[in-house]
Amino acid sequence: MAVSYKKLILNGIFSENPVFRLALSLCPAVAVTTSVRNGFLMGIAVLCVMTMVNITVSILRNLINPKVRIPAYILIIATYVSITDMVMSAYSRAAYKEMGLYIQLIVVFAIIISRAELFASKNKVLPSAVDGFGMGLGFLGALVLVGAVRELIGKGSIAGIHLTGGNPLLIMVLPTGGFFVIGLLMGLFNWIDQKYYGGRPGGVGGGHH
């Protein structure tokens, strides 16, 4: 594999950003991004799970029978998500109280199984780990960005620090606002890509969970 690690990381953050370019895992991207803090916590959890899943799938890639690879990947993802859930519930109570409901949903995030299937199952351990980490960073960055815009307009604060006075535009922290912000940011990503890199519009695959 000739692709450099730096390129793999940048791929996850920009050219194949899970939310803005691949349009995968939009469901959590709308659900948890009512504030920077929630977006950040979810992003970190996904980053850890995705890196570990990619490593495990890559190690086991020659042992898993191709006919049952999807159930096998789901099991691996579910195991790591359950571990994250149990560890958080014991050692990170404050975060778990806010995120508990969403943590278990990571199992069905399309972005994780798609990286296991498209990348980790065909590549060596180190590139797979880097790919998972890069994609995780891209997802984390996207959630923090969406969270920042929604929190600023919807609550008048960023990361809990109050910035603007008056009545904030409440609709932005409701699901509706999530769709607005993700749509506009996705447009911005496509615009930058087309103007400066001559790329094709992202999100051609349609959205999944």
Binding site: N65, K67, A72, I83, M86, A90, Y91, R93, L174
Partner: protein, 190 residues
């Protein structure tokens, strides 16, 4: 696909499941005692936070709360005498069951309330956990546990955009006081 293949595939999945099972049980064995201990600590801290002058606050009775879930009554004692009660109860909110603690004195006057868990609408319903909203309950008796849209000095002012959640918490507090009354009527020693 031959029979051999089926056995191979089955064994493959069984092996992965078994490994996952082992890993999960080990993690659970390590994390669960820590989790239970922290939950108990958090509960004690929450109870003490509501009635700080009590020497001890211990579980005294249980009852059926909203949604068939178990509610608990804790008795606060100081110098051997009961000085109040904390009722742990559920109430049906807009999008979740809200779990809360309601502290009352021996005359059923509200000392304070605490929201333990809720999954209400972010930015609207989850404001029931805001201090100004919870503080409204302090000193109130049952007949003033009424939600008013707009300003009020005597009753409970609704959170704008979250009347259902406001009403749910208020009705939950009322139900908790009623449950305590009913339990004390049944058990005179309580």
């Amino acid at each position: 696909m031959g029979n051999k293949d089926i056995i191979k595939i089955t064994l493959n999945l069984v092996a992965i499941c078994a490994l996952a099972g082992v890993i999960l049980s080990v993690t659970w064995t390590i994390t669960n005692p820590v989790k239970l201990e922290k939950e108990a600590e958090e509960l004690q801290a929450a109870l003490k936070g509501l009635i700080p002058q009590a020497d001890a606050i211990n579980k005294a009775a249980t009852f059926v709360s909203a949604g068939g879930k178990e509610g608990t009554i804790y008795k606060a004692v100081k110098g051997g005498k009961p000085i109040g009660y904390v009722v742990s109860a559920y109430t049906k909110g807009y999008s979740s069951f809200i779990k809360m603690l309601v502290a009352v004195d021996t005359d059923y006057r509200i000392i304070g309330i605490q929201i333990l868990s809720e999954q209400e609408t972010p930015g609207l319903g989850d404001n029931v956990d805001k201090k100004w909203f919870k503080d409204q309950f302090r000193g109130k008796t049952e007949d003033h546990l009424v939600v008013i849209k707009g300003e009020t000095n005597t009753d409970i002012q609704a959170i704008s955009g979250a009347t259902i959640s406001s009403r749910a918490v208020t009705n939950g507090v009322k139900a908790a006081v009623e449950a305590l009354r009913a339990e004390r009527a049944k058990d005179k020693a309580l």
